[in-house]
Symmetry: C2
């Protein structure tokens, strides 16, 4: 790459789920990240109060005094992922005082002390980046701060606590009351032994505080959020709501009204046909109502090592790009036009359509007599094309009278070239009466 290869050096304080995830991600995706940033991002120092961090820290300085990381001159950006609001606040404040940029996933810290922290960061000319604080891997902070910057935002409504949404989804699916499902969720590791932060809406209120500031341009005001939990929800209410055409979700809602701003977290009936009503399990989604863009929605995993680390490291890339940015006109090295540095684009071949692998929907019109299906499946079999489903439909009246019947097949994934050859042979059968209709099928699972 043409730009300086001087690495950006990162210190991580806290090596739990998120910290460990970030460490692993920076290693696993190092080359992809460097192609985007224009330089490597390396972890130089981690602070962890436990004796033995569970993840691989080989080649990295490890301190049990987290403030040793904060003071380390070989750390350009400090990642605070220890949680809590006391030591973490000290860590962030001192890092800024030391002239370091900060990346944090700590919504409680920001919701409760963010006004002072951001003021200090502004005074010091440093960044405090916090994409991981809300909705995990969904870049909702950037969307509100930059992507929708032209809009007057009227409301933000989010499913922003995965544990709570998992419990509600299970209640609905299994027809059970809250506490039964909670016990299951705890047994499966989806809910903490003390689930109050999640199910009482405190965690969601922290996140809503941050979203509301970004949406409306108001200071962080956590204490003014109304928070009501999902603990009193019964299977009966979930069922009645469904019967009336609604889903019950634990929604964080910030809305601008003529009287002032509503900030509230509570169980909420939402029309079942809304996209956000179809967000199930541990997933998060944030709906933004804004003028003139209208409704937009952002969906993905709101928690877990990978998704949260995705946000932490995106912040690192952001800060690193900004550190390497040059004044306008002096050549750019900040955010590249095509996401990757111009000299880091690669020449991976683009496949021709007949090299593509996909599943297929096939519709055939055939003479309605024995043996046709066997002929067709025989041809598919010779091309190693497996069948996923067959639908044999009664023919339309006219076709029926003419002795014709449609056959619909779904195949498993196969190379298009093989499918083309198979279709050619199928169409050559005397009992096949028309061109084969072929539509590709994608399951789009992760």
């Amino acid at each position: 790459m043409q730009y300086g290869q001087q690495p950006i050096r990162v210190g991580i304080v806290g090596l739990g789920t998120v910290g460990g995830g970030a460490l692993r991600l920076l290693k696993d995706n190092a080359s992809e990240i460097a192609r985007r940033t224009g330089c490597p991002i390396v972890v130089s120092h981690v602070g962890v109060r436990r004796d033995r961090p569970e993840c691989d820290t080989s080649g990295i300085r490890v301190s049990r005094d987290v403030f040793a990381v904060v003071r380390d001159p070989d750390v350009d950006i400090l990642v605070e992922v220890m949680g809590g609001t006391t030591t973490a606040r000290e860590v962030v404040t001192q890092a800024l005082e030391q002239g370091k940029h900060v990346v944090t996933a700590n919504k409680a810290l920001l919701a409760e002390h963010g006004n002072e922290i951001f003021a200090l960061a502004e005074a010091k000319g440093r960044f405090v980046a916090f994409e991981a604080a809300v909705a995990g891997g969904v870049p909702i902070i950037k969307v509100l701060r930059e992507g929708l910057a032209a809009n007057r935002i009227n409301a933000v409504a989010g499913i922003i606590n995965g544990t709570g949404n998992f419990i509600l989804s299970e209640m609905r699916q299994k027809g059970r009351d809250f506490y039964e499902v909670l016990k299951e969720a705890q047994a499966m590791g989806y809910a903490e032994a003390d689930p109050a932060f999640d199910v009482e809406g405190i965690d969601a209120a922290h996140k809503l505080t941050i979203l509301a500031s970004l949406a409306f341009g108001i200071p962080l005001q956590f204490k003014k959020v109304y928070a009501e939990g999902i603990t009193r929800l019964t299977a009966a209410d979930v069922a009645y709501a469904a019967e009336l055409g609604y889903q019950i979700k634990h929604l964080g809602l910030a809305r601008r009204t003529e009287l002032g701003i509503e900030l509230r977290v509570h169980p909420t009936l939402i029309p079942a046909e809304r996209l956000i009503s179809n967000v199930h399990g541990v997933k998060n989604a944030v709906l933004v109502l804004a003028d003139p863009v209208g409704p937009t929605l952002y969906y993905g995993s709101g928690a877990g090592a990978g998704p949260t680390a995705s946000a932490v490291v995106a912040d690192l890339v952001d800060v690193a790009r900004a550190m390497r940015n040059q004044p306008v006109g002096a050549g750019r090295a900040g955010v590249p036009h095509l996401a990757f540095q111009p000299d880091a684009l690669d020449n991976t071949p683009i496949l021709n359509i007949d090299q593509v692998h996909t599943a297929y929907y096939l519709r055939l019109l055939a003479n309605d007599r024995p043996g046709v299906l066997a002929d067709v499946t025989g041809i598919l079999s010779r091309y190693s094309i497996s069948i996923e489903a067959i639908l044999q439909k009664p023919a339309h009246a006219a076709d029926h009278a003419a002795g014709k019947a449609p056959i619909i097949l779904l195949t498993k994934v196969v190379c298009e070239a093989a499918m083309n050859a198979a279709i050619g042979e199928i169409e050559a059968l005397t009992d096949i009466l028309d061109h084969v209709v072929r539509i590709r099928l994608e399951t789009l699972d992760a």
Copy 2:
């Protein structure tokens, strides 16, 4: 505001739907935008080859020679929204040569000539911003370029042509073939007289070209995209797909495989339970499969004056913030932590929960005898609470034996204080046997 109030001056070339929308948006949301940017963004010059632009250009220099805008020294950022790939290419190239930043919504131009345009921009140290080129108001460019920068992206799958998706939604809903619905869509103004760009997948191929570059770090390669239209889809195939549990969508799909990259636009069966299958009408959505974030999805309006202008003006804010950015450590004036400049936060009051307006779901357990419902609705009526729906359910066996029955009510929007008072009176009725269960209800329409 503490930062310099020197306005950023914008020239707009093309005053059709998008240009007119951007002009109007910069005026309507001027104060909200200035609070975010830290300075006003003003339109100083528009170029429009027609005689009379349809929108209000009072106070703005208007030229019929679009290159007069390009050469104007009072233009800092040039917005190219004229469309096409010949004059538009000249306009963008000359603007960069003149040292101007460029914002464009022109996917055809970028998909076909973007490699050269971005190379020139890099050489000149200028931005070419293009959020409006894909998925209208949904900030998918920023998401791929920055929000997901830590990920190895495996696939991008998008409903990225609103007209096509509108036609498919109508086909499914009304059970009609493609050409019937197309004629309707044309009559309603949703489809152009020449709809080939939309329904043959060319427009989607342009957009997919851009998404694939951002996702994988490859040059723009429009000519290698396989594009197949939706014109041959029949009502029968849509119905068979539904019966098998699938929706047919016109999907743009870019996928990384071991052999190379697949770039294809074609009708695609998708499992009906996927969120993207539930994107109907003119809406767009882009699903990104990435590691480690997993699947994330971005949804909103992909076309129209407002949504597209939202993206164009977000780009203007981005460029303006970058122009005003100071070197790290010298005080920041770029992207503010809380989206709005720190001295532009305002003190809009946060409402107490009893000032909030919302609709309600109420569940009452009542003695099963005449007059109870009349008493309840009488109380609601006295507090001006309108009823949206009533569900009277057969009681559970035990309740039934005891002469008790549940009543479920949905109300229209009302102030929470009034609802609290009404619930107090309802609970005081001798025939009401338990606390009233109250869950708030939000329709979340735009």
